[in-house]
């Protein structure tokens, strides 16, 4: 049927391709850290699709298991690597199926979505990374990125808190970071056991011992929102401006493209406006309970 004279349709050209289409990728390596955290190195079956997946640390992909579901997972590899890596914690329905997969198996990927950490703006400045609980996946790729380009950053401080020592997965990584020049790593736990050698208490209790020049420090925070709020309060007291404090938020996500409405926080869509926000931008919407 001919289109006929144009009716009062919407203006603007429409891209015919669905942004929801997953791209098959093969697992080429699986590394396990403890029982329920696994890093999957993935290679797109169609190498020509790789340029579309160029990303900044902090951005995420939707990882798809056909017939099961799709989950938002940060990209933990280096942007210069040919393969893409996702470090996935097994918590529920979809991730439980991902846990059973290994080399040779195929997953779907679409992305990258959202924005990255401000790693360009942070060049030649000091960087303080504050992470808490189990939610450090979105920031560990950023730390690796800076160490791979060590000369471009000033003093790097990593403050990491866990509830119990067993939650400190990937411990060797912290040890490796600790051995780097001009670097401070502070590990702490709420519930120390007899072999725990680092600090005790929650992560925010250890801010005092961190030397920090507010005029040349960029802060990256990732973890439970209560921890982030405490950390922000202390950082403000120490003179760090809200423009230099960045948080990575987590919300329910069904689409990652701004359609499904699940990921909203006030006026922000965490999927397309975040997941990383300068605290200044969130303003009054960060810290209101139940928003």
């Amino acid at each position: 049927m001919s289109a006929g004279p144009s009716s009062a349709g919407p203006p603007g050209a429409i891209r015919p391709v669905s942004p929801l289409l997953p791209e098959p990728a093969e697992i080429v390596e699986k590394r396990s850290f403890g029982a329920d955290l696994h890093a999957f190195r993935l290679r797109l079956l169609d190498p020509a699709a790789r340029p579309r997946f160029d990303f900044q640390p902090g951005q995420f992909n939707m990882v798809y298991v056909p017939g099961v579901g799709e989950v938002a997972i940060s990209i933990s590899s280096d942007p210069d690597d040919a393969d893409l890596e996702h470090t996935i914690r097994i918590v529920g329905r979809t991730t439980a199926v991902i846990e059973r997969l290994g080399p040779g198996d195929v997953l779907g990927l679409r992305g990258p979505y959202g924005n990255g950490w401000p790693l360009q703006e942070a060049r030649f400045k000091d960087v303080l990374v504050v992470t808490g609980g189990l939610g450090c996946a979105p920031v560990s790729g950023a730390i690796d990125y800076m160490f791979r380009r060590r000369a471009s950053y000033g003093h790097i401080t990593v403050l990491h808190g866990v509830k119990k020592p067993a939650d400190l997965v990937h411990a060797s990584r912290f040890e490796a970071w600790r051995r780097q020049p001009d670097t401070t790593v502070v590990l702490t736990t709420d519930q120390p056991d007899r072999v725990w050698r680092d600090r005790t208490g929650v992560v925010t209790e250890h801010f005092e011992e961190v030397e920090l020049d507010p005029s040349r420090t960029v802060v990256l925070i990732c973890g439970p929102e209560v921890m982030m709020r405490y950390a922000i309060r202390i950082l403000r007291r120490r003179g760090v401006s809200d423009d230099r404090i960045f948080v990575s938020l987590e919300r329910n996500m069904h689409c990652a493209v701004g359609w499904c409405g699940h990921c909203q926080l006030g006026p922000e869509f965490v999927c397309k406006d975040g997941p990383i926000f300068p605290v200044r931008r969130l303003g009054r919407f960060f810290g209101v309970h139940g928003l």
């Binding site: 009062a8 098959p24 017939g67 195929v106 997953l107 909203q264």
Partner: protein, 387 residues
């Protein structure tokens, strides 16, 4: 599809008895024609009978939590019912829509290679007859989300591009309506192919009919094909008077100029606790709302596990699991979910899409089982905060 507006069209006169000619002309252009049909006690868009006739004389009675339609003796209007629960939203943003077809190879278990193909909706050419100004405004709001944002949605675009919209302006408002305060009605301003105003008199010899205006090339071509006379001056005067009386008589309003600030300044307010005592979190308000766009996307695997379909389905910010992530629910209480709905509709929507998420259709008031009225909720908050 380009939006080319026709030259400022001469308003035409369509006698009421000639409405079937319009329907026939739309059908001749390949459209399936749907119009307001009373069905099981409410109004909905449904196929018009072969005759192209719409029964006259139906009227609605609406109030918070209350809706009745009945046939009135002595009334002849064919567009006498202002609106029903169903807006035109389902014709573009389908309540349930398969998006992707996934084919897997024969090997058992997850992790198999797969192919994913987009499913294009089999979009019919649909002409909707009797679209109110509020619903046209709501369609423009949804266009901003699904077509003009960073990622345009091909399924929505396919349906949207095949719609032919015949608007009908309102000369009578329901008590729940407040489009005038939202600047979206009662007169349809843009986004239609044809716009009609129904008048009980004003035609030659005081007859009943419609002032008809074209809003697009397709609309102008259709009007030209009907070879109608220009609308008489009395009809144009009657039309104008009808719109003014309708707007002036509206019983509800929102203080649009105080939004979004009023709600942003009161993210904590005792009224949220108070409304949470009444709200059932049933999600009716979001389902009837012509702008709400929240949905879930899920896999529906085939029984033989050789394939799966990714399906999008309407959901609601009132669903318990809407803001749930692993181990944490950001909005566990009704207080927080009602606040999300209202603050999003009336405030954050403006930051996100440059317009309010509310067009003043009043459906959420009528179809709330306990009669919660958003204009009253806003007024209660405003009362504690003089401008």
């Amino acid at each position: 599809m380009s939006h080319r507006r026709a030259e400022e069209p001469t308003p035409r006169w369509l006698a009421r008895a000639e409405l079937p000619r319009l329907v026939a002309a739309l059908r001749a252009h390949g459209h399936r024609v749907l119009g307001p049909v009373v069905h099981e006690g409410s109004l909905r868009f449904d196929d018009l009978p072969a005759s192209g006739e719409l029964p006259g004389g139906w009227r609605d009675e609406q109030g918070p939590g209350r809706y009745r339609v009945s046939r009135r003796a002595g009334e002849e209007e064919v567009f006498g019912v202002v609106n029903g629960a169903g807006s035109i939203k389902p014709f573009v943003f389908a309540p349930r829509e398969p998006l992707l077809q996934i084919e897997m190879d024969a090997r058992a278990g997850p992790g198999r290679p797969f192919r994913a193909e987009p499913i294009r909706p089999d979009a019919e050419r649909i002409a909707l007859l009797g679209v109110r100004a509020c619903d046209l405004a709501a369609l423009a709001v949804q266009d901003r989300i699904f077509l003009r944002d960073r990622f345009p949605d091909p399924s929505y675009a396919a349906r949207r591009g095949r719609l032919f919209l015949v608007a009908v302006g309102c000369t009578r408002a329901a008590p729940t309506c407040f489009c005038a305060s939202m600047d979206t009605g009662p007169r349809p301003h843009a986004g239609f192919d044809l716009a009609l105003t129904e008048l009980g008199s004003g035609g030659p010899g005081g007859t009943a009919g419609f002032v008809a205006r074209a809003g697009s090339e397709a609309g102008a071509a259709l009007l030209a094909a009907l070879a109608l006379d220009a609308a008489p001056a009395e009809a144009l005067a009657g039309e104008e008077a009808g719109y003014q009386a309708c707007a002036a008589g509206m019983q509800r309003a929102l203080p649009r100029e105080r939004l979004p600030g009023l709600l942003y300044d009161h993210l904590e307010h005792p009224r949220w606790d108070e409304v949470a005592e009444r709200c059932l979190s049933c999600a009716n308000c979001t389902l009837v709302c012509p702008t709400c766009f929240c949905h879930d996307v899920r896999d529906e695997p085939a029984l033989d596990l050789q394939g799966s379909v990714r399906v999008r389905q309407w959901s609601s910010c009132f669903d318990v699991e809407h803001a749930q992530v692993h181990g944490l629910n950001f909005r566990p209480h009704i207080r927080e979910r009602y606040r999300q709905w209202l603050v999003h509709k009336l405030a954050s929507w403006i930051d996100q899409f440059g317009s309010s998420g509310c067009v003043g259709c009043g459906r959420c008031i009528t179809w709330c089982p306990v009669g919660i009225d958003l204009t009253e909720e806003v007024a209660a908050i405003a009362a504690t905060s003089p401008p």
